[in-house]
């Protein structure tokens, strides 16, 4: 009797209890995806046309640069002043470095983001290789990825004097710091490995990825790495491949090389591409050009956005160009404001008549508290904006490596005693660049002639001038306008946040 009662009483309680357990049970959580992991199990790797997708992801990572990166790389030379309100950039321009400065940390992190991105892309491409069996395609795409990675390491090592060269992503903590020479050797070796698998043509002839990496992009990056190592025979060997290919040609129109007409020009070896997709509104893919612009201008196209005024060509550069009687390259590289013209007149004397505060297209550049001169290579006339777009420089590409730089790099190496298998002499190479700029030929060019030519030709572009002066230990050239440069200022310190994360960075570079 009692037993029966117990059963009668407990049965519903048990049932409800069981029901509750099943309702609040957590077994369904087991079916949810893991955190911090992306899933690719639903990707069909047998479709070899899709192998291009991870590669496109790597390109997207490479082209997506934050505004402070080119500025940080560019401001330390005697071609550029840091202007604007960024104290760290002004301090770096004056060779006062602090590990806590935010912008070098950003350069470091954003470059490494894309390096890691390349690793991931390579891993994905290899999955397509296995499933689709398309080895040739996989080899080419991976080679392209390695060229991008090489370029990113080149920047980091030139900026910080060394870095961590990642071998495996999960072994970063235990990877020792490589010094600059080691990183450069790594880049040289990477390019040597990549070159046989790359398309052998001008980047603008590629139909699959126009403007993508080719054999010659790899040779160019290899040449720059050799140059940093002061292995000038290596420089000649790499650059002569580019020269001898016949794929590249200096643009006849220096001014428009840096405007819309210069997109995928025959002169461009590496170029970050952006686009408004010919539409006045909707999606676009752009670099933030505003920091290179000026706060006050009167554009031909009303409503065209102004800039921030962070990047100013130096008086030293302008006077150097005036002394040389340069017109085309000075007009392309520097835009003048009325205050700037007055400053020049006071410092230099009488100016050529063509100098005014208007560009060819009629945009007027007004006085601005932040800067007196604007970088013309980074400036797009308002008339080139696609109607409907108003951001400063919208739709403009960013040229990274030009054929003229390769010609001059080749010439310099020859003046330093390297020998070449091709017929072009140092004089020939320099004079090609000079002829395009409307200058007369030189004969018997010296190393100094070439370095001057590089200054005139490549000013404001990516810190090239600064690297040249560091490489040649020309401290007096970098000591100008009240600054004093010493060789211990050649590299920025490793960012404090990185050292905090990876204490072995603190031990530094041997």
């Amino acid at each position: 009797m009692k037993k029966k009662l117990l059963i009668k009483y407990f049965a519903p309680v048990m049932l409800v209890g069981l029901l509750l357990v099943s309702v609040i049970g957590c077994t369904d959580k087991l079916d949810q995806p893991f955190e911090n992991e992306s899933f690719t199990s639903d990707v069909d790797y047998t479709i070899s046309e899709n192998m291009v997708l991870p590669l496109m992801g790597a390109y997207q990572g490479l082209y997506t640069r934050s505004w402070e990166e080119p500025l940080t790389l560019g401001i330390r030379g005697d071609d550029v002043n840091a202007a604007g309100d960024q104290v760290p950039m002004q301090e770096q321009d004056n060779y006062m470095y602090q590990a806590s400065h935010w912008n070098p940390n950003s350069v470091w992190q954003l470059h490494y983001n894309d390096i890691v991105n390349v690793f991931t892309a390579i891993e994905e491409i290899n999955k397509y290789r296995e499933a689709s069996g398309n080895d040739a395609m996989a080899d080419q795409y991976i080679a392209e990825c390695r060229v991008m990675r090489g370029y990113l390491y080149l920047n980091i090592a030139r900026t910080f004097g060394g870095c961590i060269v990642i071998d495996e992503l999960d072994n970063i903590q235990n990877t020792p710091v490589s010094n600059k020479a080691q990183v450069m050797q790594y880049i040289v070796d990477e390019m040597t490995d990549a070159i046989p698998n790359l398309p052998d043509m001008h980047p603008n002839k590629r139909s699959d990825i126009p403007g993508g990496m080719t054999t010659y992009t790899a040779y160019a990056i290899q040449a720059l790495a050799y140059q940093e190592m002061e292995d000038y025979q290596g420089v000649v060997n790499a650059t002569s491949q580019i020269i001898n290919s016949g794929e590249f040609r200096l643009s006849d129109d220096f001014y428009h090389l840096f405007k819309k007409a210069g997109k995928l020009n025959d002169e461009n070896i590496m170029e970050f591409q952006y686009s408004d997709f010919y539409q006045g509104e909707g999606d676009n893919s752009n670099f933030l050009w505003a920091p290179f612009g000026i706060g006050g201008w009167t554009p031909v196209v009303t409503g065209a956005g102004a800039g921030w005024g962070f990047y100013e060509p130096t008086l030293k550069y302008i006077e150097f160009m005036l002394d040389r009687g340069e017109v085309e390259r000075l007009e392309t590289s520097v835009i003048f404001t009325p205050d700037g013209i007055t400053e020049l007149q006071n410092d230099y004397g009488e100016l050529p008549e063509w100098i005014d505060n208007t560009n060819r297209e009629g945009d007027i550049f007004n006085n601005n508290a932040r800067l007196n001169f604007v970088s013309g290579k980074h400036s797009q006339p308002s008339t080139e904006l696609i109607p409907g777009r108003t951001s400063y420089g919208s739709n403009k590409n960013f040229i990274v490596i030009r054929y003229s730089e390769m010609l001059l790099t080749y010439a310099e190496a020859l003046t330093r005693g390297a020998s070449s298998n091709i017929s072009m002499s140092a004089d020939d190479a320099v004079n090609m660049v000079r002829a395009r700029a409307g200058l007369t030929n030189l004969s018997g060019v010296t190393t100094q002639d070439v370095l001057d030519e590089k200054f005139a030709e490549l000013a404001m572009e990516w810190g090239t001038r600064f690297y040249d002066m560091v490489r040649t230990e020309n401290t007096s050239a970098l000591s100008y306008g009240g600054r004093t440069f010493t060789m211990d200022k050649a590299y920025l310190p490793f960012p404090a946040d990185q050292v905090a994360e990876l204490p072995h960075l603190e031990e530094g570079i041997d």
Binding site: N36, D85, V87, P88, Q90, E91, M96, Q98, A99, S100, W102, S106, W108, Q109, L110, Y112, N113, I115, V116, I164, I166, I172, Q173, A369, G482, A496, D497, Q498, A500, E501, L502
Partner: protein, 319 residues
Amino acid sequence: MNAELLGNRLTIDADYFIRDTEDAAIPVSLKLQSGSVLRNVGTIRNSGLELAVGWRNEINRDFSYNLGVNISTLKNEVRDLYGQTYINGGSAEFRQRSQIGEPLLSFYGYEVAGIYQNEAEISADPVAVDNSLVPGDFRYVDQNNDDVINDDDKVFLGSYIPTFTYGGFIGLNYKDFEFSMNIMGQTGNKILNRKRGEIIWTNDTNIDADLAKGLWTGEGTSNKYPSASALRRGWNQNFSDYLVEDGNFFRIQNIQLAYNIDGEKLFGAGMPDARVFVTAEKPLTVFKYNGFNPEVNNGIDRQFYPVPAVYTIGVNLKF
């Protein structure tokens, strides 16, 4: 601990607490790359004393009163960051940092020692010479005495978390009159006067009266604020305790005076009871901070509106 004493007239409530928040979600930085992943791996300790004392008494039928005071202390301390030396917060220009042993997101920068008053002071200080400073610029504390002002001279400048908060109330009843008042306040917290700091990005912002009147205009005029032109120079835009102010404040939260009318007794049967009152909400806040309102979210003042004082006169009728 709770106690009621003296015939329930005195109540005391005291707590000492140490509370560790374990598995707190903190950002764990990715190696070499930008960005971080939030992970439940941090430990933050809050410890302190809470004390509440209440006193009520009825003197006679016509007059009674009650009083109360509560105070609490709080020490906030980061205990574990999953092996990370520190976690940066805030922005690069206005740095906050969580580091073991310090309160969460403490302000982090230079300490101001004063203002360079004249050329003699400039030429006597290698820091000033190296940085081409001029009279009217900040003199920062060279913590390690190496004649260079750099990252090694940055220190913790305080936290937005108050270390001491207090409140009190008083209530009086005399015949048909009632009076009550609540007060509150806090000390030990710092406020980032970012409104003042954002002058670095703007050409034409307003500055607060204390700064405007206190600017250095010549030798001996100020040892606290720099000159107007100095505000535009990078050296003086380094994050320092010039922008970090005491957040102490005392406030009268509300005051009410009321008079109760017994309608039936006063006006005869059927008349409603009534209560006439005057209330002042937040009529007074006392603070030294140079903003409009010392109560700012997370201690960062990017422009808060002043707190309005609200005065109410009312009648309640009870039918």
